[in-house]
């Protein structure tokens, strides 16, 4: 029993509620939410440390023992995800202070920001399939509000589609939960894992596995269910787009990795090969979309899709090295993608547009912005010694070891196309004749860059310090591949 696990879920929920009471005091709201976000980051590190030293931590809410009661479980993977989402939470919040307009702030921006974090952390930490659904809904409802926040015409149109597709996915989710409950008679993930192992994963359970894959794939942006993502992420302001781009799809990926390393692990020839095929499609079609676009934000949104494919690739290969690569990739992606969206927000603040063809020559007036963007962009593409290289290297190495040459080939092509579209952004935005009006040349951008700097530093650190961080990912993967550890610490057998 460890009540500490509640902090990442409960603190943002409690603070968000308190913030509602300070509706008209924006400075108070900013201070409280900033302190909460930073405090939560500290707690996330502390929890990970405890999990690392003492093993998997659980808490049984209300004192009801599993499989009957609700449990929260923190293993290494979950607590690592909480750290990552807390980092993005802090950074995007500070960026929002600079860029979100007063009108938007007044309408409960910070409370819903906090609720979103509560939902995301809850989804990471829950050990119960139904509560995974509940926390998904908490997260989604907060995201519906943040994505339409501000209510421009474009946002209203696209977020309607976003809401419909997610409600649709949620219906399938609850149907899947009902199926699995009718077969195993339990909702506790550890208990389900035990029962599934007993009754063998045959036809019906494979069908349920595919149903879950469809649901989480829809939320995570897997091929062919990613079509909603680029348009809906284009609408909201960059601080929100960065938070969504960094976090929300990764919650779907987290759920896929959790279910397919804990529950549906007895027929990898079917399920994990299916994931591999989807991963290939996701990478390839996502990056093709990005190559075709000429808008800063849309290119980044399509890249989310192609990158999600790499994470699914790691799960599909299903070995310790590949899953460690996928985990490293998730960490790298959350940091780099959020940073890129924030760079997009910064250039939008300077030029007033996200259309690449309307921008050029920013490098002359804003050299720091330009070079920092370049570092982040080539990190996304996977140039050594930055973080993107090592994550892709592990995946590709393991793909070759397993003789899956076709998917390795696809991922290499995707890497090149990623580099191509990142360079396209850099050339259009930062090179060429300077087209800025005189008044735009000396805008103070240091307050905008300050929140991004830690992210850029992190991608460099993840790259240069790859050895210890990768060995940590290997331990996370090791824990994931031995579900008995998870099961024993939840059921205490």
């Amino acid at each position: 029993m460890n009540n500490l696990l509640l902090v990442p879920v409960l603190a943002p929920f409690l603070i968000g509620t308190i913030l509602i009471l300070f509706k008209n005091h924006l400075t108070v709201q900013r201070w409280i939410s900033a302190i909460t976000a930073i405090g939560m980051l500290g707690f996330a590190f502390y929890i990970t440390y405890i999990v690392y030293v003492d093993g998997i931590q659980t808490i049984e809410l209300g004192g009801w023992a599993p499989p009957f009661g609700i449990v929260l479980v923190a293993d290494l993977f979950a607590s690592l995800m909480v750290i990552l989402s807390s980092i993005v939470g802090v950074v995007c919040l500070f960026f929002a202070f600079q860029t979100i307009s007063k009108e938007r702030e007044k309408f409960f921006f910070y409370p819903f920001y906090m609720y979103l974090l509560a939902g995301v952390h809850g989804a990471f930490l829950t050990g119960d399939l139904f509560n995974l659904f509940v926390f998904f809904e908490v997260m989604l409802i907060a995201s519906y509000i943040l994505i339409v926040h501000g209510g421009t015409k474009y946002q209203l149109r696209e977020s309607f589609k976003y809401v419909v597709i997610n409600v649709f996915a949620s219906i399938f989710f609850i149907v899947g939960i009902a199926y699995i409950y009718s077969i195993t008679g339990t909702l506790n993930m550890a208990d389900i894992a035990v029962r599934v192992a007993e009754i063998e994963q045959t036809g019906v359970l494979n069908a349920i596995a595919v149903l879950f894959l469809v649901v989480f794939g829809m939320k995570g942006g897997l091929f062919p269910l990613y079509f909603w993502l680029p348009n809906s992420y284009f609408g909201p302001p960059s601080a929100i787009a960065a938070l969504f781009g960094g976090l929300l799809t990764k919650v779907g990926i987290y759920a896929i990795i959790r279910t397919f390393t804990l529950i549906f692990i007895h027929d990898p020839g079917f399920t994990h090969n299916l994931i591999l095929i989807l991963a290939g499609g996701t990478m390839f079609f996502g990056v093709l979309g990005a190559v075709a676009q000429f808008d800063f934000k849309r290119i980044l949104s399509f890249h989310i899709i192609s990158q999600v494919g790499y994470m699914a690739l790691g799960l599909g290969l299903y070995s310790q090295l590949a899953i460690a690569g996928a985990i490293y990739y998730i960490a790298h992606h959350i940091i780099v993608k959020s940073a890129l969206f924030l760079f997009c927000g910064a250039t939008e603040k300077i030029t007033g547009t996200t259309d690449l063809k309307k921008m050029s020559g920013l490098l002359k007036s804003y050299p720091v912005l330009g070079w920092l963007f370049l570092v982040t962009a080539i990190s996304l593409a996977g140039i050594p010694p930055l973080s993107g290289f090592f994550s892709k290297f592990a995946l590709i190495l393991n793909g070759i070891e397993q003789e899956r040459y076709f998917i390795v080939f696809i991922s290499l092509v995707v890497g090149i196309l990623t580099l191509f579209s990142m360079m396209k952004i850099f050339i259009y935005v930062f090179w060429g004749e300077e087209s800025l009006a005189e008044k735009d040349k000396n805008k103070p951008i240091m307050p905008l860059l300050a929140p991004i700097l830690p992210l850029v530093a992190l991608t460099v650190i993840l790259g240069i310090g790859a050895e210890p961080i990768f060995s940590f990912s290997m331990e996370v993967a090791n824990q994931l591949l031995e579900p008995s550890q998870y099961i024993n610490s939840v059921l205490k057998e």
């Binding site: 409960l10 509620t17 509602i20 009471l21 509706k23 209300g62 004192g63």
Partner: protein, 141 residues
């Protein structure tokens, strides 16, 4: 043209009182029998809504100057607080405490920490229902 709402007004005054008190009864019935915070709250909201419907929106707002956004927030805070009190005793979050007390003039009363949680739900339901309806009703366009 001036419309006469005499019958509606007279009946509403009586019926609203009955609905509101029945909702409180339902709320307390909820621990062992059908009822509880959610149903009670919905019915309470319906009673208030009847008042809003038969009288004017502005008139009720001068009589009952309640900010329903705050009602939701306070409800949520009570709810979280009920969970948090177990942390004081070092028990897991949301542990329920239950005991019977003798309180004059009710005699022996069973008190449990789920009651404040039900109050929290009651407040949130009332707040959400009325906030939604009044926002739509107050929309001029």
């Amino acid at each position: 043209m001036k419309t006469n709402y005499l019958m509606l007004h007279t009946i509403t005054r009586i019926v609203a009182l009955i609905i509101l008190s029945f909702s409180v009864y339902l709320f307390f019935a909820g621990h062992y029998t059908p009822g509880g915070g959610f149903i009670g709250g919905l019915m309470f909201a319906c009673g208030l809504l009847l008042l809003y419907l038969s009288f004017d929106l502005n008139k009720i707002q001068t009589v009952l100057p309640i900010d329903f956004e705050k009602v939701i927030a306070i409800g949520l805070l009570i709810g979280i607080g009920t969970g948090l009190n177990s942390l004081l005793f070092g028990d897991p979050f949301f542990t329920m405490y239950f005991d019977t007390f003798t309180i004059w003039p009710f005699g022996e009363v069973a008190l449990t920490t789920t009651t404040p949680f039900a109050i929290a739900i009651f407040l949130v339901v009332v707040g959400v229902a009325l906030l939604t309806i009044l926002t739509i009703a107050g929309d001029e366009a």
